[in-house]
Symmetry: none
Subunit: 170 residues, 2 copies
DNA sequence: AATATTAATGCAGTGAGCTGTATACTCATG
DNA sequence: CATGAGTATACAGCTCACTGCATTAATATT
């Protein structure tokens, strides 16, 4: 955790930006029920903030509270958009998809002619790590902000049975 | 002139952005030889600034002084590439553009179907940091040689009102 | 070379943005 | 209703970006 802080931001504004990005990430990773839990999750991610600041971040980010398994948890803003992640899962179930990594780009490969649909499904899933996608014929380039986030994207796709290409970099 | 100022920006930051946009405009419109002439041209456009501020703007904008008709006049950067930067500016004025960063890739997002035009405008603008571009439907990946150069690209785009996506990393 | 003109910059003041503290507000529970 | 948990927000202090003034530095002119 400390290693995360070492490369810390230089201004309040930069820290705020990165903290909010971390917030979007943690609410996507695990169920968090209270703002104090968010405070603790942020601290674990190297950001020290109080409940007041988190309350403000929630408003600015448009985080929502959704009912899940009988409890209310914080979630990214589009989590209630109908079937976003399900759409990606269905694509991966219907078509073979391979994944590889090149720096901050996750390279997805599927059947010829399917890249646009795959990119659209990915956009619809609103993965917080994804900053942009570009589709060719059978290949989609998925940009993440930092190389380490490729791991998160790959892990999410692995839940849908997407295998890493033989010999592909991690 | 007063009517121009009445609808003026609300913060220094907004005023600075608009003043610099005005500066880029006036150096493109007519020959201006000294920073005091720039000060007067800005005042005519509704911006009150001193020579000190203009000097700083010139550095930030990368304005150059070029020999023209036996005299030296201020000109936009890349002015030797015919109208390039104007083309990018016009695109950004006509369409909403968001920017994010993924390592050495600046990810630009605009309206569906416009990515090619945006990439072309960017190519025409000949930003020295840009190594290459690839366009999808609504997204353009802009490659720079080094991560730190993403900052320069973003700052230049910010002059045209391009905002960084909420939560996007710097 | 001397002088005038032009451009750059150190410093201090100001405004905007951000944060934590303390407290008000809201909601759930017994 | 009382109480506790969770959330929102007023206020004050701090940080940072921006600007003009005054001066220095650089360049042009004679």
């Amino acid at each position: 955790m400390t290693s995360v802080s070492v490369a810390g931001p230089r201004t309040d504004r930069a820290r705020k930006r990165q903290r909010q990005q971390a917030l979007l990430r943690v609410v996507g990773e695990r169920p968090l029920h209270t703002q104090e839990e968010l405070v603790r999750a942020l601290r674990a991610a190297g950001f020290h903030a109080t409940q007041a600041t988190v309350s403000r971040d929630i408003v600015e980010l448009g985080l929502v509270k959704v009912a899940r398994d009988g409890a209310h948890v914080y979630a990214p803003p589009a989590a209630t958009a109908a079937g976003g992640i399900d759409r990606l899962r269905r694509f991966c179930e219907d078509y073979p998809v391979e994944v590889a990594v090149a720096g901050t780009i996750v390279v997805l490969r599927s059947l010829p002619g399917t890249a646009n649909a795959l990119a659209a499904a990915l956009d619809a899933s609103r993965l917080p790590e994804v900053v942009g996608t570009i589709a060719g014929d059978d290949t989609v380039f998925v940009a993440v902000a930092h190389e380490r986030e490729t791991r998160t994207v790959i892990d999410r796709l692995a839940l849908f049975g997407v295998m890493q290409r033989r010999g592909a970099q991690t």
